[in-house]
Amino acid sequence: MPLLELSNVSKAYAGTPALRQVDLKIEAGEVHALMGENGAGKSTLIKILAGVVAPDSATIRMDDRLVSIDDAAKAHRLGFRFIHQELNVVPSLSVAENIVMGQRYPRRAGIFVDWKKLNSVAADALRRLGVTHIDPRVKMASLSTGDRMLAKISAALLSADGAPARLYVMDEPTAALTREESEQLFRVLNEIRAAGNSVLYVSHRIDEVMALCDRATVLRDGQSIDSGMLSEITHDDLVAMMTGRKVTETYPAQVAPPSDETAYEGHGLSVRKGEILGLAGLSGSGQTELLRRIFGRPASAWRRGIAYVPKERRSEGLVLTRPIFENITLPHLKTHSLGGAFLAPGRERGFATSMGDDVKLRATSTRQLVQQLSGGNQQKVVFAKALSGEPDLLLLDEPTRGVDVGAKYDIYSVIREMTAKGMAVILASSDLPELLGLCDRIAVMRNGSISIIVEAGLSEDALLNLCYGRATHSEAA
């Protein structure tokens, strides 16, 4: 008997279908992957499960009984626990309060919050993930993105009173985690499976899915294409099922070697024209800060041909309530206007459409509001914006987070093309294979400064050791 069976789930946004008669069956005691390209409908399906989005039609059975999910509280009562794709934290409250938020706080005398107990409950939840470096008493605002994600995961794992957890739903939980942290998470997921509970798991990291999950359901264009045991198929099969085409390479090859001319020098590093310089380092080692310092004052940076893809697309990268084309043309709006003063929306849209095509953006039109896009497609808008002025120096902070395999390849190809024309790139990423697959050189950061710069071509383990400061350069080479 499956734990949860969804059938015939449909949902359209303003007439555009996002899900078309999707079926999904999750057995008890399995980790089930939900796969698909950006915009395939994964998050929509999850939001329906969470009672946040109302489906147009859906039949939901749990333990073979029909259920309806009207709101978030109902989903919680059914034993569902969620980690949504977009990090929803309350920055002004402490980590502990964020973790315990969904539940009744521990109390004294029936009224007053028992802060000691609250903090220890939160600390326990974090410890379950193997996290000891986060003080539950500090404000959420002071945590890095990765640490916030860890806190959110602990919140979902926290055992609630009343409604025991049956199903954990995680929408790209590892997108902001380092490899170590991800592995801690996998350990916990295995515990969950062993206890007979289930996990619905979304990730664009195929290797991770292949290693962790038992079965997968693949969505394409809002339809469930296939569902089956992962042990029976290969990495490439899975990718082919998602994209409908064969993607054999993950990283496109270099078109032309970097030139000898320096494109940028400062803050302890230099990049040549046409070069891709990687920034590696553990979480909190300061890549974000370094990129910000190189970027400097934004208005003058864009004018000088420096473009920037910030790490947090929703809070830093996008004006969610405005259309796609307005976001893409924002940094260079004057060049797309009449005389620098009056808008020429037609011209802007034409330009935005071609930029969107370059990064394989999927949207109904460039007039669509950014907030209506799937997470990965939002990221592509940030990318299109950064590339829109043909920059000389491109600063990237975790640029492909949440982008599907196929689209990643396309974005990498665009970067390769533009570096061939002389653009320099500084790429900060926690995805070590990405650094190794793209960069000419990699600068390793520790405690806020660059500790060493190495030529690419070393192994992933060697790079990781450098990040930890466990090996010298000579050993790594």
């Binding site: 946004y13 303003a14 946040v52 989005v53 109302a54 934004p298 208005a299 940076a301 864009w302 004018r303 920037y308 910030p310 809070s315 830093e316 990268g317 996008l318 004006v319 969610l320 309530t321 405005r322 307005e326 924002l330 940094p331 709006l333 004057k334 206007s337 620098g340 003063a341 009056f342 808008l343 509001l369 914006k385």
Partner: protein, 318 residues
């Protein structure tokens, strides 16, 4: 589905149309006449000007509580200059300059120093109002010191066929047109909307946020000063408290308008509709001789009902 979308988008507008039709039916001879509507627009011209200016800062998610006392101050400044014998153009020019500078001061406080708009403009509300009292000695300035031509401006208009379109109405329309062009048709306006949507993202995209705040607040101050002059012309006098009713109504009009825009962002034409709703209710209920006190309750209730249409459908989950 489509009806719900329509209601959500145009609920407030539909509410407005219903109100107008009701008054039309109740007051068949006097309400739906060109004369009455010209009257209404003339009566509302000051509020329209202030509300249009308020829209500019509210697009950035800021707001300006000081517009009412700036309107009082500018009227007082012009009247005092009249009493010193300044020519009209110079007195009016200086009063407008006072508005621009007062607005710039607000912009400095909010944009450069980073004080919350509510605190900053509440403080300047107090200061401008105090200044209006100090400058005028607390008195109403009226009578012969106000040049005839200044008072006549508000009484005259442009003849179009059988109708006289009042000057005040024309000024208000011109201001609305200017603000519309600024907000909807220029790169400046586009970037103001970006600031309002996500300040941090706009900043990182190279929008000079601080400079824009300075300019936007200056324009709001300027429009408040203009409204103060229109008011002074209409009452042919200046009084240090005469603008004080404008602020809440201007903000209310912008918010009423916001219920009609897709993403809940302010739009100047919607703001004008908001002003009209407030004004038409006043006009119609007065003509129907509804008791002043009961009218207050009715105005509140009708606004709530009109807005509920668009709000309820928005509150439903997507």
């Amino acid at each position: 589905m489509t009806i719900l979308t329509l209601l959500r988008r145009f609920g407030t507008l539909i509410g407005f149309v219903v109100i107008v039709c009701y008054f039309w039916a109740q007051l068949p001879d006097t309400f739906m006449t060109a004369r009455n509507w010209l009257n209404i627009t003339q009566q509302l011209s000051m509020l329209i000007v202030v509300a249009a200016g308020m829209t500019i800062v509210m697009v950035m998610n800021d707001f300006d509580l000081s517009v009412g006392s700036m309107a009082s101050l500018s009227g007082i400044v012009a009247a005092m200059l009249f009493s010193f014998g300044y020519p009209i153009w110079l007195a009016v020019g200086i009063a407008l300059l006072v508005g621009l500078l007062g607005g710039l001061f607000n912009g400095v406080l909010v944009g450069l120093i980073g004080i919350l708009p509510f605190v900053a403009t509440l403080a300047t509300l107090t200061m401008f109002s105090g200044a209006a009292f100090v400058v005028s000695g607390g008195k109403t300035i009226s009578g012969r010191v106000i040049p005839e031509a200044f008072g006549n401006f508000a009484r005259q208009g442009i003849e179009i066929g059988p109708l006289t379109v009042p000057n005040l109405t024309i000024v208000a329309l011109a201001v609305v047109a200017l603000v519309w062009v600024l907000l909807e048709q220029t790169t400046f306006g586009r970037r103001l909307y970006a600031i309002g949507g996500n300040l941090e993202a706009a900043h990182l995209s190279g929008v000079p946020v601080r400079r824009f705040k300075l300019i936007a607040f200056s324009l709001t101050g300027l429009s408040a000063a203009l409204a103060g002059l229109l008011y002074a012309s209409r009452v042919a006098s200046a009084n240090p408290t005469q603008g004080s009713g404008l602020m809440l109504n201007a903000i209310a009009a912008v918010f009423l308008g916001m219920t009609m825009s897709g993403q809940g962002e302010p739009r100047v034409l919607a703001t004008v509709l908001g002003v009209l709703i407030l004004g038409v209710l006043d006009n119609g209920l007065t003509q129907m001789a509804v008791d002043s006190y009961v009218r207050q309750i009715l105005v509140g209730a009708i606004i709530l009902i009109a807005v509920s249409f668009s709000s309820i459908s928005k509150a439903k989950r997507s």
